[in-house]
């Protein structure tokens, strides 16, 4: 991602209502020049901005699109907390939602379709999608001027899209789990925008999203949205193509730049089979296979009953007349061979996901009443409440993405799905603090800020910003007694893969959090690689925690001296020398040798004291022997003296 110049600053005190297309926006100031105004779009809390557009788009010459300039952090809505902001150019005028009345066809083609199609074609050439084309996110500087597509980079793709603006297979998904999608989905949204402008109002007003999806599935998007209302011939032909059910049948954005050529592109699509009599699954009867798939996805219990009872098979064969689909369903799911008593909820959910994919190859991944696209799993997990997060975790653990990909192999190669399913399951089941749900969430949301309490409110989304944030946290009086790195931060660090292998389990404490020495090692590596400036507050925090352990440093005097040395090194703010002092191999070897010698000496002294205590009898025997010899010696001395006196007078 391109670094944002320091001269650009966010001004949260100057909100820009309506500029964010549904997201809070405020002014951003570029102190260097007096060019077009900038705006800052607030990233929703707990979610990640779109990483790929933020990495690939800055600096690209794309007209009629509010390109991102970079990512910034500034004080957010919560007091004392900072938030992430995507900086981009401010909209050139009001949103189209504020423009009343129906638009003439020529204006729609010249001022909306052509500039928007050119921008979408440029995005598609980069392998990107917009996914936020709706009346409140398309802007026009003045009447008669071409429109500009708004920014779509601060929130997960299509998160704020209304159900009407998305094809059914996207609209039925969780708002955060719609994924990047296909450029053809942008074409669909652009078609809906053109239709709204041509009609002067949004069609299907008053219908719930569920009813909209059912209507689109039952009648086709074009028929459901136009509902027999008259449109200009050229526009009608264009919209019929742009609102095609199959994304492969929609004209590419580059072709839409020439409406006449796009109109001439006609693809013959077989109309879907419709049954004479509907099959009731859930609340309403369904009349075609795609509607049946949607009903099974939204009412899994009723769908499972219909599948198990054979009602689905019978209906597909007799009412719908699609024996091939019925056979494919039976061949892949083996419904008759599946014993009902042994089926677990995960197995049932997996079966339903495969059934939906077979019935409607366009449908997204479904799981226990939820629907999402695999590339939307990250935002869906990040924003999910705990019970939904557990359900999605079970989905990942069952490698449902792989089974779903295999069930719709005619739409896409299942091998990449299988690979990513195994990779995600590996993250989820990896033991230790570097695995589990948090690791998976950080892996799938590359710009999601670290949620550790130590850096809460500082919007640390990249490892390079972590040391400075921890330095600020270390200076606060309310710093944690357990140290700066907890399980959450460890998962964040492991997911960013800047440090290679995760810390081994033996370096973790009882609660899964790393030991102070492991924290020091992690942060020393971070400082050396990403932020080589002194961090005295953080070093002091770690010096207080990473005191020499008695199990490693045996000599108390040496421990005290080492602690003093750590304190002294902490004042310099560099973590690597502290770690080196704590792990000095020669000092550790000397300490271990000294401890072994002291232990041996103590054992010898204990043995000598025990021998002294038990040697009373031996000393008594020795004393008796020596005393008697002494008496004999005295007798000899007396005799010798007397004899000498007798001899020498």
């Amino acid at each position: 991602m391109a670094a944002l110049p320091d001269a650009i600053a966010v001004d949260p005190a100057r909100p820009l209502p309506g500029a964010g297309g549904g997201l809070p926006a405020c002014a951003a100031i570029d102190r260097r020049a007096t060019g077009p105004g900038l705006m800052a779009l607030a990233v929703p809390a707990g979610l990640s901005p779109r990483a790929r557009p933020l990495a690939d788009l800055p600096g690209k010459p794309i007209e009629s699109l509010l390109l991102p300039l970079g990512l910034a952090t500034a004080p957010g809505p919560a007091p004392g907390a900072r938030g992430q902001y995507v900086i981009c150019r401010a909209p050139p005028g009001p949103a189209l939602a504020e423009t009343p009345g129906p638009w003439p066809e020529a204006a729609l083609l010249d001022q909306v379709l052509r500039p928007a199609a050119a921008a979408l074609a440029a995005l598609a050439a980069l392998g990107l999608t917009h996914r936020a084309i709706r009346p409140d996110n398309v802007f026009r500087p003045a009447p008669g001027q071409p429109v500009t597509l708004g920014a779509a980079w601060a929130a997960p793709p299509a998160m704020h899209q209304p159900a009407i603006a998305e094809p059914p297979y996207v609209a039925m998904c969780l708002a955060e789990g719609r994924g990047d999608g296909h450029p053809a989905d942008d074409v669909y949204a652009l078609g809906v925008l053109l239709l709204c402008l041509a009609l002067g109002e949004a069609p299907l007003i008053g219908l719930s999203p569920d009813a909209m999806i059912r209507a689109k599935l039952a009648h086709g998007s074009f028929d459901a949205l136009t509902a027999g209302r008259r449109l200009p011939a050229l526009l009608s032909d264009l919209l019929r193509g742009m609102l095609a059910e199959d994304p492969d049948h929609r004209p590419p954005a580059a072709l839409l730049a020439d409406p006449m050529a796009a109109r001439a592109r006609r693809l013959a699509a077989r109309p879907p089979r419709r049954a004479a009599h509907g099959l009731r699954v859930g609340a309403e009867p369904v009349g075609d296979a795609r509607s049946l798939a949607y009903a099974i996805a939204t009412a899994p219990e009723a769908g499972l009953r219909a599948l198990r009872s054979g009602a689905t098979d019978l209906w597909l064969r007799r009412e719908l007349g699609d024996s091939a689909l019925a056979m494919r369903l039976e061949e892949q799911l083996h419904l008759r061979a599946l014993p009902p008593a042994e089926a677990s909820s995960a197995a049932e959910a997996l079966l339903l996901a495969r059934a939906v994919a077979i019935l409607d190859p366009l449908a997204p991944l479904t799981w226990q009443g939820m629907a999402l696209w695999p590339d939307g799993l990250g935002p869906a997990l990040a924003s999910a409440p705990p019970d939904r997060q557990r359900a999605l975790g079970a989905m990942v653990a069952a490698e449902t993405v792989a089974a779903w990909g295999e069930a719709r192999a005619q739409r896409a190669d299942p091998l990449p799905r299988r690979a990513e399913a195994r990779l995600w399951r590996g993250y989820l089941t990896q033991p230790g603090a570097a695995g589990g749900m948090r690791r998976l969430i950080y892996e799938l949301n590359r710009l999601l800020p670290c949620a550790s309490p130590a850096v809460a409110g500082q919007a640390v989304a990249q490892l390079a910003a972590l040391p400075a944030a921890l330095e600020a946290a270390a200076a606060a009086p309310s710093r944690s007694a357990a140290g700066p790195v907890d399980r959450e931060m460890l998962a964040f660090i492991a997911a960013r893969q800047e440090l290679g292998a995760a810390p081994p389990p033996e370096t973790l404490g009882a609660d899964g959090a790393p030991t102070p020495e492991t924290q020091l090692e992690l942060l020393a590596r971070l400082q050396a690689r990403l932020h080589p400036v002194p961090l005295p507050a953080l070093a002091g925090w770690l010096a207080a925690l990473a005191a020499p352990r008695p199990s490693e440093w045996r000599n108390p005097a040496r421990r005290v001296a080492l602690a003093a040395q750590l304190d002294q090194l902490a004042t310099a703010g560099m973590l690597a020398p502290m770690l080196a002092a704590l792990r000095d191999p020669s000092a550790l070897a000397a300490d271990a040798t000294g401890y072994a010698a002291a232990s041996a000496e103590c054992a010898q002294l204990d043995a000598a004291l025990a021998a002294l205590a038990e040697g009373g009898a031996g000393r008594a025997a020795s004393a008796r022997r020596l005393g008697q010899e002494l008496a004999v010696g005295l007798g000899i001395a007396a005799l010798t003296t007397v004899l000498g006196m007798a001899l020498f007078g």
Binding site: C602, A623, L626, G627, Q628, E629, A631
Partner: protein, 156 residues
Amino acid sequence: MARKAKPKERPTAPRTEAPGRSLAWVQGLACGALVAMAPGFAVLGGVLGAPSWVALALDRAAGRPVLRSVALCNAAACVAPVRAFWAGGHGLDAAWAVVGGPLVLALAWGAGAAGWALAEVCPLGVRLVLEAAAAARAVRLRARRAAVAKEWALQD
């Protein structure tokens, strides 16, 4: 009828006399010869050396430490009487004259008693010295151990 097997003759070890028994015979012969040939010396040795003879009879310990101590001290006290006996003609009368002196007798027997006392008191003294030395060494060892344990935080 099967013949009875002859019992096997066991080899018998040759009988050997205890070495102390022949020594007693030699001592008896020597004493007899001394009484017959030098009755004065026998009287003198028998009376003045009475503590040693008593110790010889009572001390059954290995090496006879009490006997040796008593005998040496007893002998030291007998040197002067023996010289007086020799100067007095070393006959039986002279022997009786010497042993008749109460001072001589008291000195010889007192020396024997002192020898016994030495044999009993010296082991006690040596025991006291050894115990004191052991106690002093234990104090030094405990101090050293406490210092090492404190330096390395070793448990007692």
